[in-house]
């Protein structure tokens, strides 16, 4: 009830008006942030002047003058810091992509095994998950690197697999493919097969929509992809020439060399992340209620079709968002490379370049913005995907 005597002058006081208060709060907050920013900026300026550190990004064009253990692009010591950045970024991406691929495979296998009706298998999967997700990833990386790979024998006593793959203290040696006489016909046949597969899938779907008849699409696609390139290889000759690493003197020559740092990092990150992915896969599959399976079976779908057409599409909706955040974690965890000297972005750029140039702010800012850009773009992609597959209800 409003008291007519005190009137709107008391109730409408500036101090208690929610709108005015909201404005005031926001202005205070913005002012506080700006003041803090200015304070930090001012201190930094005077500190930099004091220590005689130049600022700006001109250092990116200076010659780096140090070697890098592994580089996906041509790199020599006389190249610029800018190129060092690219080399580091590519190495980060390499270990991330390898890690994600392997972690996904292990994770899905363990996750499905966790749900196996076989008691022993499901227990084993649980043991795997509980062991590996409760040990710090850095410790796992150190274990593989210092305790396993650094303790490998020298090249002459390498562990070998069929005289083609060698493992020793210098790394993992794999045979590398080169262009053979039949490479081009093989690639062309592969391209034709891919196009034909797409056409086949479209045709099969259109036919099913029109007539209800199904076509064994996956069999057809596999046949196309195997038979066409196979014929090309048989007619035109071997598409690839494999260079097998060979022991000459004290080291191996030829083939691909995977440095032990990369092996340790990939192994540890994929084993660690796989434990989390397995739990995500398990909860995703369990989230599809049993009624769905029963309904599909009573409609006459075979177990394979039930799985592919009913269970997996619904489970994926639950699995994909946390799965992406695990992928992001793996990308961020790949920065642990700095601890064992794998030349990733943090190690060569925020480490070596920072130490050489002393330009801490610029190098750290660049490094952080790369990770931020990766994270934000994947989150945006995720939000878009989530909207697309969100359950459309009546």
């Amino acid at each position: 009830m409003q008291n007519p005597a005190s009137g709107p002058s008391v109730r409408g006081s500036m101090m208690t008006d929610p709108k005015v208060r909201a404005w005031a709060f926001q202005l205070i907050a913005i002012a506080a942030v700006l003041a803090a920013g200015w304070y930090l900026f001012h201190n930094t300026q005077s500190n930099l002047a004091q220590r005689g550190i130049t600022s700006g990004f001109a250092f990116l064009n200076n010659s780096a003058g140090f070697g890098i253990l592994q580089s996906l692009i041509d790199y020599t010591e006389s190249d610029t810091y800018g190129r060092v950045f690219v080399v580091g970024l590519l190495n980060t991406l390499l270990v991330s992509v390898l890690g994600i691929a392997i972690a996904t495979v292990i994770g899905f296998v363990i996750g499905v095994a966790r749900l196996s009706p076989n008691w022993l298998i499901s227990r084993l999967a649980a043991v795997y998950i509980e062991i590996f997700r409760n040990i710090p990833p850095l410790l796992q990386i150190f274990f593989w690197y210092f305790a396993v790979l650094r303790a490998m024998p020298p090249p002459r006593q390498s562990h070998e697999l069929g005289e083609t793959v060698f493992l020793n203290i210098r790394g993992l040696y794999l045979p590398s493919p080169g262009a053979g006489e039949g490479l081009w016909p093989f690639l062309i046949a592969l391209a034709v097969a891919l196009v034909a597969s797409v056409v086949l899938v479209r045709w099969a779907r259109a036919r099913q929509e029109a007539s209800g008849q199904r076509f064994p699409v996956s069999l057809g696609v596999i046949a196309l992809l195997v038979v066409l390139p196979g014929i090309a290889a048989a007619v035109a000759g071997n598409p690839f020439v494999w260079t097998v690493p060979e022991l000459t003197g004290f080291n191996f020559r030829g083939g691909w060399v995977v440095i032990p740092e990369l092996v340790a990092l990939t192994l540890a990150l994929s084993i660690y992340t796989a434990a989390f992915i397995a739990e995500i896969v398990r909860s995703g599959i369990q989230s599809v209620s049993h009624g769905q399976t029963e309904a599909a079976r009573s409609l006459g779908l075979r177990p394979g079709h039930t799985l592919r057409l009913v269970i997996i599409p619904q489970a994926m909706r639950v699995i994909i968002p946390p799965l992406t955040s695990q992928y992001l974690n793996l990308v961020k965890n790949s920065s642990l490379a700095a601890a064992i000297g794998y030349p990733d972005l943090v190690s060569v750029f925020a480490g070596t370049v920072l130490n050489q140039t002393g330009q801490a702010i610029e190098t750290i800012a660049i490094t952080m913005s790369v990770y931020l850009a990766i994270s934000l773009s994947i989150s945006l992609l995720m939000n878009w995907y989530n909207k697309r597959i969100a359950l459309v209800e009546r």
Binding site: N43, N47, P136, S335, L376
Partner: protein, 365 residues
Amino acid sequence: MSTHAFKPDLPPPTLSVGALGWMRANLFSNWFNTALTFAALYLIWLIVPPVLSWALFDATWTGSTRDDCAAGSGACWVFIQSRFAQFMYGFYPPELRWRVDLTVVLAIVGAVPLFVRAMPKKLVYGAAYLLVYPWLAFWLLYGGLGLEIVETSQWGGLMLTLVIAVVGIAGAMPLGILLALGRRSEMPAIRVICVTFIEFWRGVPLITVLFMSSVMLPLFLPEQVTIDKLLRALIAVILFEAAYIAEVVRGGLQAIPKGQYEAARALGLGYWRMMGLVILPQALKMVIPGIVNTFIALFKDTSLVIIIGLFDLFNSIHQATVDPAWLGFAIEGYVFAALVYWIFCFGMSRYSMRLERRLHTGHKR
């Protein structure tokens, strides 16, 4: 009249009950399952006996130097034994280590009443504990006021790991709650500031944050100010974890039905009283498991301080494995480190699962 006596029930077929029945249902239900069982048994046979004989039967347990391990073919636990004190306390002066022990004992004894369900006035006690204990712990660990001062550069081992993890989470909680409230605020400027802060810290790896705190923090502050290495790491960890806590708490805030907000408003409560008395008590209770999970992640992440040269549990053990006097026992060192981290993390994750079951009584159908 003759009475019909029923014959006793036939026992169930021996193959469907008891150990045999269980095995038939769970291990050998069809040919594929049987094959899997044998593959799994083979895998276990391949892994378990060698590991057991390395870690237990062939291991060396007694002695004092590495020569004592020369005879045994298994693990050399003498290495762990001889360095155990360093793994626990770092370079903390041996005659003062009782202070660390006392800090831990006080923490446990003080926290016990919080876990007794029938304890009256739990909230008051908890608040008092949270207000008093940190000062007491700091006084005991660091010194001053009559106790000899132990510089933080001498702290190390498991003790340092626990200090970083506990201070990190305790410092991140209030900041994280404020950020979560800010992110749900109706004022656009506040929301933008909080979202930017949260997304920034969540988007970068902790390792770059630690790098930043060690090389950039000194540049950010006036030149006469020098801050301790441990404090720098703590600031980095608190800011980083606050963003994660904020997201966990936001989940709880979003799960509170709108009616609760409206009811609090209708009672005439202002914003802070509505949040403090109605919304946050419900939301925080709901997200306790999430906070425990964040704490587990933080506990594992404390091992990253090796990058800025602090001697936590992991770094102490790593340094010991590269010590020339004990070269070649890296596996023992890492296995011991893994065991300690595992016990903590596994214990906490079990606890969080139990809490989840206990707390979810009202919301789960």
